[in-house]
Point group: C2
DNA sequence: CGATATTGACAAGAAACGTTGTCAGATTTG
DNA sequence: CAAATCTGACAACGTTTCTTGTCAATATCG
Protein backbone atom coordinates (compact mmCIF):
# COMPACT_ATOMS: atom_id res chain seq x y z
CA UNK A 1 0.00 0.00 0.00
CA UNK A 2 2.98 2.30 0.34
CA UNK A 3 4.33 4.35 -2.47
CA UNK A 4 7.61 2.92 -3.51
CA UNK A 5 8.56 5.46 -6.11
CA UNK A 6 10.68 7.81 -4.05
CA UNK A 7 12.95 9.19 -6.71
CA UNK A 8 11.91 12.61 -7.87
CA UNK A 9 9.65 13.67 -10.61
CA UNK A 10 10.25 16.66 -12.84
CA UNK A 11 8.19 19.71 -12.01
CA UNK A 12 7.87 22.92 -14.00
CA UNK A 13 10.68 21.58 -16.09
CA UNK A 14 13.25 21.24 -13.32
CA UNK A 15 14.46 18.14 -11.60
CA UNK A 16 13.89 17.14 -8.02
CA UNK A 17 17.39 17.95 -6.87
CA UNK A 18 17.46 21.25 -8.66
CA UNK A 19 14.23 22.37 -7.08
CA UNK A 20 15.62 21.53 -3.69
CA UNK A 21 18.79 23.43 -4.43
CA UNK A 22 16.87 26.47 -5.63
CA UNK A 23 14.74 26.48 -2.51
CA UNK A 24 17.81 26.22 -0.37
CA UNK A 25 19.42 29.12 -2.13
CA UNK A 26 16.27 31.18 -1.73
CA UNK A 27 16.34 30.47 1.97
CA UNK A 28 19.97 31.50 2.28
CA UNK A 29 19.35 34.76 0.45
CA UNK A 30 16.24 35.43 2.48
CA UNK A 31 18.13 34.72 5.66
CA UNK A 32 20.81 37.27 4.80
CA UNK A 33 18.13 39.84 4.12
CA UNK A 34 16.27 39.12 7.35
CA UNK A 35 19.45 39.01 9.41
CA UNK A 36 20.34 42.38 7.98
CA UNK A 37 16.96 43.76 8.96
CA UNK A 38 16.46 42.37 12.44
CA UNK A 39 19.64 40.49 13.27
CA UNK A 40 20.08 36.78 13.63
CA UNK A 41 18.53 36.66 17.05
CA UNK A 42 15.49 38.55 15.89
CA UNK A 43 15.06 36.33 12.86
CA UNK A 44 12.46 33.58 13.12
CA UNK A 45 12.01 30.59 10.90
CA UNK A 46 8.63 31.94 9.90
CA UNK A 47 9.99 35.33 8.89
CA UNK A 48 12.75 33.83 6.79
CA UNK A 49 10.37 31.48 5.05
CA UNK A 50 8.00 34.36 4.34
CA UNK A 51 10.86 36.39 2.90
CA UNK A 52 11.86 33.45 0.74
CA UNK A 53 8.29 32.91 -0.38
CA UNK A 54 8.41 29.36 0.90
CA UNK A 55 6.59 27.42 3.55
CA UNK A 56 8.12 26.17 6.77
CA UNK A 57 8.24 22.62 5.63
CA UNK A 58 10.84 23.48 3.04
CA UNK A 59 12.96 25.01 5.71
CA UNK A 60 13.44 21.68 7.39
CA UNK A 61 13.96 20.07 4.05
CA UNK A 62 17.28 21.88 3.74
CA UNK A 63 18.28 22.81 7.28
CA UNK A 64 18.07 21.05 10.56
CA UNK A 65 17.46 24.26 12.45
CA UNK A 66 17.95 27.99 12.37
CA UNK A 67 21.57 27.79 13.34
CA UNK A 68 22.37 25.55 10.41
CA UNK A 69 20.97 28.21 8.14
CA UNK A 70 23.15 30.86 9.74
CA UNK A 71 26.15 28.67 9.15
CA UNK A 72 25.15 28.21 5.53
CA UNK A 73 24.64 31.95 5.11
CA UNK A 74 28.03 32.69 6.59
CA UNK A 75 29.69 30.17 4.37
CA UNK A 76 27.94 31.57 1.33
CA UNK A 77 29.10 35.08 2.14
CA UNK A 78 32.60 33.89 2.86
CA UNK A 79 32.74 31.96 -0.38
CA UNK A 80 31.62 34.99 -2.32
CA UNK A 81 34.13 37.27 -0.64
CA UNK A 82 36.94 34.83 -1.21
CA UNK A 83 36.06 34.42 -4.83
CA UNK A 84 35.92 38.16 -5.41
CA UNK A 85 39.28 38.68 -3.78
CA UNK A 86 40.86 35.84 -5.72
CA UNK A 87 39.47 37.14 -8.96
CA UNK A 88 40.85 40.58 -8.21
CA UNK A 89 44.26 39.20 -7.35
CA UNK A 90 44.55 36.90 -10.34
CA UNK A 91 45.61 39.48 -12.96
CA UNK A 92 48.30 40.93 -10.71
CA UNK A 93 51.68 40.16 -12.12
CA UNK A 94 53.68 41.62 -9.25
CA UNK A 95 54.79 39.86 -6.13
CA UNK A 96 55.00 43.11 -4.27
CA UNK A 97 53.26 42.52 -1.00
CA UNK A 98 51.97 46.07 -0.83
CA UNK A 99 50.13 45.80 -4.12
CA UNK A 100 48.68 42.43 -3.24
CA UNK A 101 47.40 43.51 0.12
CA UNK A 102 46.02 46.79 -1.17
CA UNK A 103 44.12 45.04 -3.92
CA UNK A 104 42.74 42.48 -1.52
CA UNK A 105 41.65 45.12 0.94
CA UNK A 106 40.02 47.25 -1.73
CA UNK A 107 38.07 44.26 -2.95
CA UNK A 108 37.10 43.17 0.52
CA UNK A 109 35.91 46.57 1.65
CA UNK A 110 34.24 47.17 -1.68
CA UNK A 111 32.23 44.00 -1.33
CA UNK A 112 31.19 44.87 2.18
CA UNK A 113 29.97 48.20 0.97
CA UNK A 114 28.13 46.76 -1.99
CA UNK A 115 26.35 44.23 0.23
CA UNK A 116 25.60 45.71 3.63
CA UNK A 117 23.43 42.80 4.67
CA UNK A 118 26.15 40.34 3.87
CA UNK A 119 28.61 42.56 5.69
CA UNK A 120 26.49 42.33 8.79
CA UNK A 121 26.30 38.55 8.58
CA UNK A 122 30.02 38.33 8.08
CA UNK A 123 31.05 40.80 10.74
CA UNK A 124 28.41 40.80 13.41
CA UNK A 125 25.70 38.19 13.40
CA UNK A 126 28.03 35.25 13.41
CA UNK A 127 29.57 36.14 16.75
CA UNK A 128 28.61 34.82 20.12
CA UNK A 129 25.88 32.55 18.83
CA UNK A 130 27.13 29.16 19.94
CA UNK A 131 30.32 27.18 20.29
CA UNK A 132 29.70 25.62 16.91
CA UNK A 133 29.39 28.97 15.20
CA UNK A 134 32.44 30.26 17.04
CA UNK A 135 34.38 27.37 15.64
CA UNK A 136 33.24 28.13 12.12
CA UNK A 137 34.18 31.77 12.55
CA UNK A 138 37.61 31.00 13.92
CA UNK A 139 38.36 28.38 11.34
CA UNK A 140 37.64 31.04 8.75
CA UNK A 141 39.86 33.58 10.47
CA UNK A 142 42.73 31.17 10.73
CA UNK A 143 42.29 30.15 7.12
CA UNK A 144 42.71 33.77 6.11
CA UNK A 145 45.70 34.05 8.42
CA UNK A 146 47.41 31.24 6.62
CA UNK A 147 46.74 32.86 3.28
CA UNK A 148 48.32 36.06 4.46
CA UNK A 149 51.33 34.47 6.03
CA UNK A 150 52.11 32.56 2.87
CA UNK A 151 53.34 35.84 1.49
CA UNK A 152 55.93 36.11 4.26
CA UNK A 153 57.74 32.82 4.18
CA UNK A 154 60.26 33.49 6.90
CA UNK A 155 57.73 35.05 9.23
CA UNK A 156 57.53 32.06 11.53
CA UNK A 157 61.26 31.94 12.10
CA UNK A 158 61.47 35.67 12.63
CA UNK A 159 58.54 35.71 15.03
CA UNK A 160 60.28 33.04 17.02
CA UNK A 161 63.42 35.11 17.21
CA UNK A 162 61.46 38.08 18.48
CA UNK A 163 59.51 36.10 21.05
CA UNK A 164 56.17 36.57 19.33
CA UNK A 165 53.29 34.19 18.76
CA UNK A 166 52.71 33.98 15.05
CA UNK A 167 49.08 32.91 15.29
CA UNK A 168 48.25 35.77 17.59
CA UNK A 169 50.23 38.12 15.38
CA UNK A 170 48.10 37.13 12.42
CA UNK A 171 44.97 37.44 14.56
CA UNK A 172 45.98 40.97 15.39
CA UNK A 173 46.38 41.96 11.76
CA UNK A 174 43.05 40.46 10.84
CA UNK A 175 41.47 42.11 13.84
CA UNK A 176 42.66 45.47 12.62
CA UNK A 177 41.22 44.92 9.17
CA UNK A 178 37.92 43.62 10.51
CA UNK A 179 37.50 46.31 13.13
CA UNK A 180 38.06 48.96 10.50
CA UNK A 181 35.38 47.29 8.45
CA UNK A 182 33.05 47.29 11.42
CA UNK A 183 33.66 50.92 12.18
CA UNK A 184 33.13 51.83 8.57
CA UNK A 185 29.91 49.85 8.26
CA UNK A 186 28.65 51.28 11.50
CA UNK A 187 29.36 54.81 10.35
CA UNK A 188 27.10 54.20 7.36
CA UNK A 189 30.14 53.97 5.09
CA UNK A 190 30.96 57.58 5.86
CA UNK A 191 34.54 57.60 4.62
CA UNK A 192 35.34 57.03 0.95
CA UNK A 193 36.61 53.56 0.30
CA UNK A 194 40.05 54.78 -0.71
CA UNK A 195 40.49 56.32 2.69
CA UNK A 196 39.43 53.09 4.35
CA UNK A 197 41.89 51.09 2.29
CA UNK A 198 44.71 53.50 2.99
CA UNK A 199 43.94 53.51 6.68
CA UNK A 200 44.17 49.75 6.84
CA UNK A 201 47.27 49.88 4.68
CA UNK A 202 48.88 52.27 7.13
CA UNK A 203 48.70 49.63 9.83
CA UNK A 204 49.48 46.62 7.71
CA UNK A 205 52.18 48.50 5.83
CA UNK A 206 53.98 49.60 8.95
CA UNK A 207 53.95 46.06 10.27
CA UNK A 208 55.05 44.68 6.95
CA UNK A 209 57.97 47.04 6.58
CA UNK A 210 59.15 46.41 10.09
CA UNK A 211 58.54 42.69 10.50
CA UNK A 212 57.59 40.87 7.37
CA UNK A 213 59.59 42.26 4.49
CA UNK A 214 62.70 40.35 3.45
CA UNK A 215 65.06 42.96 4.80
CA UNK A 216 66.02 42.38 8.39
CA UNK B 1 -6.36 51.90 54.09
CA UNK B 2 -3.13 52.00 52.10
CA UNK B 3 0.23 51.94 53.74
CA UNK B 4 1.78 55.32 53.44
CA UNK B 5 5.13 54.50 54.89
CA UNK B 6 7.10 53.74 51.75
CA UNK B 7 10.54 54.74 52.83
CA UNK B 8 12.66 51.79 53.74
CA UNK B 9 13.13 50.06 57.00
CA UNK B 10 16.45 48.73 58.20
CA UNK B 11 16.83 45.01 57.88
CA UNK B 12 19.60 42.85 59.29
CA UNK B 13 21.35 46.08 60.07
CA UNK B 14 21.50 47.46 56.53
CA UNK B 15 19.44 50.16 54.95
CA UNK B 16 16.88 49.78 52.22
CA UNK B 17 19.05 51.25 49.49
CA UNK B 18 22.05 49.23 50.51
CA UNK B 19 20.15 45.98 50.41
CA UNK B 20 18.97 46.82 46.93
CA UNK B 21 22.48 47.67 45.86
CA UNK B 22 23.83 44.43 47.28
CA UNK B 23 21.21 42.39 45.48
CA UNK B 24 21.97 44.19 42.27
CA UNK B 25 25.64 43.48 42.64
CA UNK B 26 24.94 39.84 43.36
CA UNK B 27 22.91 39.66 40.18
CA UNK B 28 25.66 41.23 38.13
CA UNK B 29 28.25 38.82 39.50
CA UNK B 30 25.92 35.89 38.97
CA UNK B 31 25.24 37.03 35.43
CA UNK B 32 28.93 37.10 34.59
CA UNK B 33 29.30 33.60 35.96
CA UNK B 34 26.30 32.26 34.06
CA UNK B 35 27.28 34.02 30.84
CA UNK B 36 30.67 32.44 31.17
CA UNK B 37 29.13 29.02 31.58
CA UNK B 38 26.39 29.02 28.96
CA UNK B 39 26.71 32.31 27.13
CA UNK B 40 24.36 35.23 27.21
CA UNK B 41 21.87 33.62 24.90
CA UNK B 42 21.76 30.48 26.96
CA UNK B 43 21.33 32.39 30.20
CA UNK B 44 17.81 32.61 31.58
CA UNK B 45 16.53 34.93 34.24
CA UNK B 46 15.81 31.95 36.44
CA UNK B 47 19.32 30.57 36.15
CA UNK B 48 20.91 33.90 36.99
CA UNK B 49 18.63 34.37 39.98
CA UNK B 50 19.41 30.88 41.19
CA UNK B 51 23.12 31.56 40.85
CA UNK B 52 22.70 34.78 42.77
CA UNK B 53 20.64 33.04 45.44
CA UNK B 54 17.79 35.45 44.84
CA UNK B 55 14.26 35.14 43.63
CA UNK B 56 12.96 36.42 40.33
CA UNK B 57 11.18 39.36 41.86
CA UNK B 58 14.46 40.93 42.84
CA UNK B 59 15.61 40.68 39.29
CA UNK B 60 12.95 43.07 38.13
CA UNK B 61 13.64 45.26 41.10
CA UNK B 62 17.00 46.17 39.60
CA UNK B 63 16.69 45.45 35.90
CA UNK B 64 13.99 45.95 33.39
CA UNK B 65 14.93 42.84 31.47
CA UNK B 66 17.74 40.47 30.73
CA UNK B 67 19.39 42.79 28.28
CA UNK B 68 19.66 45.52 30.87
CA UNK B 69 21.55 43.11 33.06
CA UNK B 70 23.95 42.31 30.25
CA UNK B 71 24.56 46.01 29.80
CA UNK B 72 25.22 46.38 33.51
CA UNK B 73 27.56 43.41 33.50
CA UNK B 74 29.48 44.81 30.58
CA UNK B 75 29.77 48.17 32.22
CA UNK B 76 30.95 46.57 35.44
CA UNK B 77 33.65 44.63 33.63
CA UNK B 78 34.68 47.68 31.67
CA UNK B 79 34.87 49.78 34.79
CA UNK B 80 37.02 47.20 36.49
CA UNK B 81 39.35 46.88 33.54
CA UNK B 82 39.68 50.62 33.23
CA UNK B 83 40.43 51.01 36.89
CA UNK B 84 43.07 48.31 36.82
CA UNK B 85 44.78 49.85 33.84
CA UNK B 86 44.67 53.31 35.34
CA UNK B 87 46.08 52.05 38.61
CA UNK B 88 48.90 50.34 36.76
CA UNK B 89 49.68 53.44 34.74
CA UNK B 90 49.59 55.85 37.65
CA UNK B 91 53.07 55.16 39.07
CA UNK B 92 54.69 55.50 35.67
CA UNK B 93 56.85 58.57 35.56
CA UNK B 94 57.80 58.33 31.94
CA UNK B 95 55.94 59.76 29.01
CA UNK B 96 57.43 57.23 26.70
CA UNK B 97 54.56 55.88 24.67
CA UNK B 98 56.09 52.44 24.43
CA UNK B 99 56.21 52.00 28.18
CA UNK B 100 52.71 53.29 28.65
CA UNK B 101 51.21 51.04 26.03
CA UNK B 102 53.13 48.01 27.20
CA UNK B 103 51.99 48.49 30.76
CA UNK B 104 48.41 49.00 29.69
CA UNK B 105 48.46 45.91 27.52
CA UNK B 106 50.05 43.79 30.22
CA UNK B 107 47.39 44.86 32.67
CA UNK B 108 44.58 44.37 30.20
CA UNK B 109 45.63 40.91 29.12
CA UNK B 110 46.47 39.99 32.68
CA UNK B 111 42.98 40.87 33.81
CA UNK B 112 41.41 38.91 31.00
CA UNK B 113 43.41 35.92 32.02
CA UNK B 114 42.63 36.27 35.68
CA UNK B 115 38.90 36.52 34.97
CA UNK B 116 37.95 34.31 32.05
CA UNK B 117 34.25 34.79 32.58
CA UNK B 118 34.60 38.53 32.51
CA UNK B 119 36.78 38.21 29.45
CA UNK B 120 34.01 36.38 27.71
CA UNK B 121 31.46 39.03 28.60
CA UNK B 122 33.80 41.74 27.45
CA UNK B 123 34.92 40.15 24.22
CA UNK B 124 32.17 37.87 23.02
CA UNK B 125 28.79 37.95 24.66
CA UNK B 126 28.23 41.63 24.12
CA UNK B 127 28.34 41.38 20.35
CA UNK B 128 25.42 41.07 18.02
CA UNK B 129 22.79 41.12 20.74
CA UNK B 130 20.81 44.20 19.80
CA UNK B 131 21.27 47.70 18.42
CA UNK B 132 21.31 49.06 21.94
CA UNK B 133 24.12 46.76 23.02
CA UNK B 134 26.03 47.50 19.84
CA UNK B 135 25.86 51.16 20.73
CA UNK B 136 27.18 50.52 24.21
CA UNK B 137 30.01 48.45 22.80
CA UNK B 138 30.97 51.06 20.24
CA UNK B 139 30.77 53.91 22.65
CA UNK B 140 33.22 52.00 24.79
CA UNK B 141 35.53 51.33 21.90
CA UNK B 142 35.57 54.94 20.85
CA UNK B 143 36.17 56.02 24.39
CA UNK B 144 39.27 53.88 24.49
CA UNK B 145 40.28 55.23 21.10
CA UNK B 146 40.23 58.74 22.44
CA UNK B 147 42.32 57.73 25.42
CA UNK B 148 44.92 56.25 23.14
CA UNK B 149 45.03 59.15 20.74
CA UNK B 150 45.56 61.61 23.53
CA UNK B 151 49.09 60.31 23.66
CA UNK B 152 49.68 61.33 20.06
CA UNK B 153 48.60 64.95 19.94
CA UNK B 154 49.43 65.65 16.34
CA UNK B 155 47.94 62.43 15.06
CA UNK B 156 44.83 64.06 13.65
CA UNK B 157 46.76 66.52 11.59
CA UNK B 158 49.15 63.90 10.37
CA UNK B 159 46.36 61.48 9.49
CA UNK B 160 44.78 64.21 7.44
CA UNK B 161 48.00 64.77 5.55
CA UNK B 162 48.25 61.09 4.76
CA UNK B 163 44.62 60.76 3.68
CA UNK B 164 43.65 58.49 6.55
CA UNK B 165 40.55 58.39 8.70
CA UNK B 166 41.66 58.82 12.29
CA UNK B 167 38.64 57.13 13.83
CA UNK B 168 39.05 54.09 11.64
CA UNK B 169 42.77 54.11 12.33
CA UNK B 170 42.10 53.93 16.04
CA UNK B 171 39.48 51.23 15.44
CA UNK B 172 42.10 49.21 13.65
CA UNK B 173 44.56 49.40 16.52
CA UNK B 174 41.91 48.42 19.02
CA UNK B 175 40.76 45.66 16.74
CA UNK B 176 44.28 44.24 16.71
CA UNK B 177 44.50 44.27 20.49
CA UNK B 178 41.05 42.78 20.94
CA UNK B 179 41.45 40.08 18.34
CA UNK B 180 44.71 39.01 19.94
CA UNK B 181 42.85 38.80 23.22
CA UNK B 182 40.14 36.71 21.59
CA UNK B 183 42.63 34.37 20.02
CA UNK B 184 44.44 34.00 23.28
CA UNK B 185 41.29 33.34 25.28
CA UNK B 186 40.09 30.89 22.69
CA UNK B 187 43.38 29.01 22.81
CA UNK B 188 42.88 28.52 26.53
CA UNK B 189 45.56 31.09 27.26
CA UNK B 190 48.13 28.89 25.60
CA UNK B 191 50.86 31.47 25.15
CA UNK B 192 52.56 33.09 28.13
CA UNK B 193 51.29 36.56 28.77
CA UNK B 194 54.64 38.17 27.96
CA UNK B 195 54.47 36.71 24.50
CA UNK B 196 50.95 38.05 24.07
CA UNK B 197 51.99 41.50 25.17
CA UNK B 198 55.01 41.53 22.91
CA UNK B 199 52.97 40.33 19.98
CA UNK B 200 50.53 43.18 20.41
CA UNK B 201 53.43 45.55 20.96
CA UNK B 202 54.95 44.45 17.69
CA UNK B 203 51.92 45.75 15.82
CA UNK B 204 51.30 48.85 17.90
CA UNK B 205 54.99 49.62 18.09
CA UNK B 206 55.48 49.45 14.35
CA UNK B 207 52.55 51.76 13.84
CA UNK B 208 53.73 54.09 16.54
CA UNK B 209 57.23 54.39 15.18
CA UNK B 210 56.01 55.01 11.69
CA UNK B 211 52.97 57.21 12.25
CA UNK B 212 52.55 58.45 15.75
CA UNK B 213 55.93 59.28 17.19
CA UNK B 214 57.08 62.93 17.09
CA UNK B 215 59.63 62.32 14.38
CA UNK B 216 58.26 62.77 10.90
C1' DC C 1 3.12 42.12 71.77
C1' DG C 2 0.80 43.59 67.54
C1' DA C 3 1.15 45.73 63.11
C1' DT C 4 3.81 46.25 59.12
C1' DA C 5 7.58 45.59 56.02
C1' DT C 6 10.59 42.24 53.95
C1' DT C 7 11.94 37.99 52.16
C1' DG C 8 11.87 33.59 49.64
C1' DA C 9 9.54 29.81 47.40
C1' DC C 10 6.65 28.94 43.96
C1' DA C 11 2.39 29.22 40.98
C1' DA C 12 0.29 30.99 36.95
C1' DG C 13 -0.81 33.78 32.95
C1' DA C 14 0.65 35.14 28.52
C1' DA C 15 3.32 35.23 24.54
C1' DA C 16 6.64 33.47 21.19
C1' DC C 17 8.68 30.06 18.68
C1' DG C 18 10.19 25.58 16.74
C1' DT C 19 8.49 21.75 14.73
C1' DT C 20 5.25 18.51 12.82
C1' DG C 21 0.96 17.49 10.69
C1' DT C 22 -3.25 18.19 7.68
C1' DC C 23 -5.36 19.02 3.40
C1' DA C 24 -6.97 20.92 -0.81
C1' DG C 25 -5.33 22.27 -5.21
C1' DA C 26 -1.86 22.19 -8.93
C1' DT C 27 1.25 19.46 -11.87
C1' DT C 28 3.11 15.53 -13.90
C1' DT C 29 3.16 10.73 -15.52
C1' DG C 30 1.21 6.63 -17.70
C1' DC D 1 -8.46 10.70 -17.90
C1' DA D 2 -6.78 8.76 -13.54
C1' DA D 3 -3.35 8.04 -10.15
C1' DA D 4 0.50 9.75 -7.91
C1' DT D 5 3.46 13.50 -6.56
C1' DC D 6 4.37 18.11 -5.40
C1' DT D 7 3.24 22.55 -3.52
C1' DG D 8 1.57 26.14 -0.43
C1' DA D 9 -1.34 27.78 3.24
C1' DC D 10 -2.19 27.10 7.72
C1' DA D 11 -3.44 24.60 12.05
C1' DA D 12 -1.78 22.51 16.19
C1' DC D 13 1.20 20.62 19.69
C1' DG D 14 4.71 21.09 22.93
C1' DT D 15 8.22 23.74 25.02
C1' DT D 16 10.34 27.56 26.87
C1' DT D 17 10.62 31.91 28.80
C1' DC D 18 9.38 36.31 30.75
C1' DT D 19 6.77 38.47 33.97
C1' DT D 20 3.50 39.17 37.61
C1' DG D 21 1.11 37.49 41.52
C1' DT D 22 0.15 34.78 45.87
C1' DC D 23 1.27 33.46 50.45
C1' DA D 24 3.44 31.94 54.51
C1' DA D 25 7.53 32.75 57.30
C1' DT D 26 10.78 36.11 59.24
C1' DA D 27 12.41 40.48 60.97
C1' DT D 28 11.66 45.20 62.52
C1' DC D 29 9.32 49.05 64.62
C1' DG D 30 6.23 51.27 68.03
Amino acid sequence: METEIRSGRRYKGVSNEQRRAERREKLVDAAIAVYGAVGYHGATVRAICAEAGLTERYFYESFENGEALLAAAFEAVMARLTEEVMTALAPLSTFDMGSIVRTALATYYGQLRANPNEARVFLVEILGVSPRMDTIYWDTIRQVSLSILRFAPDAAERADDLGLDLDLFADGLIGAVVQIALGWVRSGYAAPIDTVVETAMAILGAVNREYLSPRA
